[in-house]
Amino acid sequence: MSAAWLPVLPVVAPLLAAPLWLVVRRPQVAWWGSMAVGAVAFAAAAALLVTVLRNGPVDYAFGGWPPPIGIAYRIDLLGAFVLVLVSGVSWVVSWAGGRGVEREVDEPRRALFFSAYLLCLAGLSGMVLTGDLFNLFVFLEISSLSTYVLVAAGRDRRALPASFRYLIMGTVGATFVLIGIGLLYAGTGTLNMADLAARLPEAFDRRAVHTGIVFLIVGIAIKAALFPLHHWLPDAYARAPGVVSAFLAATATKVAIYVFIRVVFFVFGAQATLEALAVQHTLTALAAAAVVFGSWAALRQDDTKRLLAYSSVAQIGYIVLGLMLADVAGLQAGLTHLFNHALMKGALFLALVAVVYHGGGQRLSDLAGLGARMPLTAAVIVIGGLSLIGVPLTAGFVGKWLLVEAAAAKGAWWLIAVVVVGSVFALGYVGRMLEALYFRAPAAQGGAGIAEAPLGLLVPALVLAAANLYFGIDTRLSAGLAGRVAAALGGAG
């Protein structure tokens, strides 16, 4: 009877394995074990997706307690889609963990590092799977707390203030979420999402419910780093060990956006929330600002990881822009870009791990001449960068096309202008990286030992880069599934 516990496997496996590394304490064991657990989680997620595609949503009641009394999991196509993405990318990123921690994490902390990694994965998977609002908060805290540890795990002392800042912001966000959940509970008397969705329409006009919804959305926006609540992100990504940046950029913000979709479109009801509470206009404006500001800020960075981090702020803007069009085409565009962006940023941050492996720095000038010395790593940066710009035959193009098409169909011309401006800025900041890689002579002193990174780092980076090309050509899994999810969500009309 494998199918029965399939829905909880992506959460339970990493959750149970994480404490083991505290006992074993051998980094190699922890690394191999984490990869094995990641593989199990990914396989379970893939199996879940197949099941959902065949038989429709899967339900699981913890301890046999039926909802709304017990905690229920309900996995529909949206959940399965995001879960496959999150578990898949985090698994590939974990391959790079072994080599990645060698340079960036001190020996005694390495086993702990993998514990935190698995805990974070468990938290993120739980957020995707759960059908219970309070359970969602618990998983949010599990993933957040382990993230603070991960960010601070490296040798770079500057990571400590970055992590602390993230902790403050993250805690504020989590508290907002909790207040929101509390108010909703007070207003409706239930925490189960399906139940809440059923009861909400009659309670919707209460001020407490409104307040709860707004608290929840703002809290999620902090976790998703939506402009102007993004301040924790650039520092955290720039100072964290490279593997952590790749992991977080590809998964954490994506899951936050997933939660947003879940509560707004499934629980609150898109029409009511977006229009009655003016969420649509507010978030569209903020997302547009995120695209322009994030891209512009990325253009001015000298540190490659900060550059990518600001680019993430902009990409989150694109995703939210798509979602806030609130029709099927817009949702499809947003979800497609969510999927593709995880691949781009995963590949790019892993490439930067490879760059610093042999003692290279993470400033733009440190990329100089690496095109010849690290041809494969440089190729990953090229592919990831082109995908960020949205060049055809890369994954990025698909999302951008769908977004522009959705906007054009709605007659939202200014939105196309925003996308264009963002793309032009992206061209600028990616161009700076490519130029440094290929057409700048390396600094005269030092850098003699710089050669191609070990396979342990190259393979995961190349796999993600290849995924960028693959999903630029075969879009059935990305845009195709996103389209089905969007059709199921239906939009707000």
Binding site: P392, V424, G431, E435, F439, A479
Partner: protein, 490 residues
């Protein structure tokens, strides 16, 4: 009795140079093998296109398409063949062979570094060009168009010094910004309006446009297709002149820029439909802009002293002819536009080859240093003269043929504007090309004796000059092909 033609074979045209590109790194460390492979790739593509053209012609030159896999809902990658695409593909593949011979001479004589990367990108650019030529819809064309920009960027930045980097930056920034900013939105708009982006005889958008929408969309296309270098989106072309001369010759006189005007022709012929545009009168603004480009670029060229920059501005002006002639919409001028794509290619590549030969043999890059060069490099400068005559539009060169039809179209539709532009720019062309020829042949220079460039370069120059004259002498088949392309989209 007519043989059939399977359009699926068209995929072979981009596939051959792609294979050539992908195998280049294997030979990168052995110069002889690498050069031989470059030549084999070019010949392979030429044979492939010649075979396709022959089979297609024998089958009665039909318009046929072959669909690739669906990319995502409603968006398909597809190729098709029609007279205009066959003409563009033939010209580009033929000139690639000549350019490869020239490249081998040039790159070796100038001891250029990174030759593996050079030939790799070159072949990749040709693969993209072939896909541009045979693209059956705007999406496929856009994919190839962007690929062409990216493949040529490393070629422009080839030297790697600050000047080359700066030029390449301008090149990439303008081309990608215009295509992402205007071309792509215009394509998506077309997709939303028509539910697809296929090239359709008579115009995909025919009957779906109001004059205002048509004018806006056409302007987005004309400015968004930056490769057509309509002012003010032309700055990338002079910037690209930092590239090695064979790159300027094939890519920035033939493949890249022709991909731009070719794209605009396709859009006018098959997306809007000439009859529809004429009825709407939506082309006026774009036509004025193209005419302005022709004259303004010539005026700028008049003031250039750097040889390649002068040629670049001349190209901007000549591209303006094609755009202007296509937008005039008269059948005869559209015929001239199609012909000019080919005619300008032969003439301009000759001029660039000559500039590169002078640089290689004498290390001269300015036109005011050319006194007496005609005596030291008689083959090169004779070929240059042929190319210059073609630019001005004098017989016995290809430029005369195309200009004839453009002018005929202008008279046919009584367009005083186009006629005036043509006369003015002919005078200007003569004004900046003839002094160079005179200086080279009739002035005393500093050096003496015969100092031609390496023989592969001289052979290539002679070949393209011969082609320029040959097109004039045997213009029949070319005119037939061009006429068909006008008939396919009335």
């Amino acid at each position: 009795m007519s043989a059939s033609f399977d359009p699926a074979w068209l995929w072979l045209a981009p596939a051959v140079p792609l294979a050539g590109a992908l195998l280049t790194p294997l030979a990168a460390r052995r110069p002889a093998l690498r050069d031989a492979w470059a030549l084999v790739s070019a010949l392979g593509l030429f044979v492939c296109v010649a075979w396709l053209a022959g089979a297609w012609w024998r089958a009665g030159a039909p318009v046929l398409r072959s669909e690739g896999p669906e990319w995502w809902a409603g968006v398909v990658l597809a190729v098709h063949v029609e007279p205009l695409s066959m003409l563009f593909a033939s010209v580009a593949s033929l000139l690639w062979v000549v350019t490869t011979v020239y490249s081998i001479g040039y790159m070796r004589a100038n001891r250029e570094a990174h030759q593996g990367r050079y030939y790799f990108c070159f072949a990749l650019a040709l693969a993209a060009t072939m896909l541009v030529a045979f693209a059956a819809n705007l999406v496929t064309l856009f994919v190839a168009y962007e690929l062409l920009t990216l493949a040529t960027y490393p070629l422009v930045a080839h030297k790697g010094d600050e000047r080359a980097r700066q030029g390449a930056r301008t090149y990439l920034a303008i081309l990608l910004a215009s295509s992402m900013g205007l071309f792509l939105p215009a394509i998506v708009w077309t997709h939303v309006l028509a539910g697809g982006t296929e090239f359709v005889s008579g115009g995909l958008l025919a009957g779906r446009l109001s004059p205002a929408v048509a004018a806006a969309l056409l302007s987005m296309f004309v400015l968004g297709v930056g490769k057509a270098a309509v002012m003010p989106v032309h700055r990338w072309l002079p910037a690209a002149m930092v590239a090695p001369t064979p790159v300027s010759a094939l890519l920035h006189a033939v493949a890249v820029v022709k991909a731009g005007v070719f794209t605009l022709c396709k859009i006018v012929f098959y997306i809007f439909g000439p009859a529809e545009l004429a009825a709407l009168g939506a082309q006026e603004a774009a036509l004025l802009l193209a005419g302005f480009t022709v004259v303004a670029a010539s005026l700028v060229a008049l003031r250039q002293v750097e040889f390649k920059r002068l040629l670049a501005y001349s190209t901007v002006s000549q591209l303006g002819y094609v755009v202007m002639a296509a937008l005039l919409l008269a059948p005869l001028s559209r015929l001239g536009a199609v012909l000019h794509i080919a005619a300008h290619a032969f003439g301009k590549i000759t001029l660039f080859f000559a500039a590169g030969a002078v640089y290689t043999a004498l290390h001269k890059t300015r036109v005011d240093e050319l006194a007496g060069v005609g005596r030291r490099m008689p083959w090169t400068m004779a070929a240059f003269t042929v190319g210059a005559l073609s630019m001005i539009g004098l017989p016995p060169t290809a430029g005369f043929v195309s200009k004839w039809f453009i002018l005929a179209g202008a008279m046919d539709w009584q367009s005083v504007f186009v006629g005036t532009v043509l006369v003015l720019s002919t005078a200007l062309n003569a004004g900046y090309f003839l002094p160079i020829v005179c200086r080279a042949f009739f002035r005393e220079g500093d050096g003496r004796g015969f100092e031609e460039a390496p023989w592969p370069m001289v052979a290539a120059i002679t070949a393209t000059a011969a082609l320029t004259v040959g097109v004039f002498a045997a213009a029949g088949p070319l005119i037939d092909l061009a006429r068909m392309s006008v008939e396919v989209s009335p």
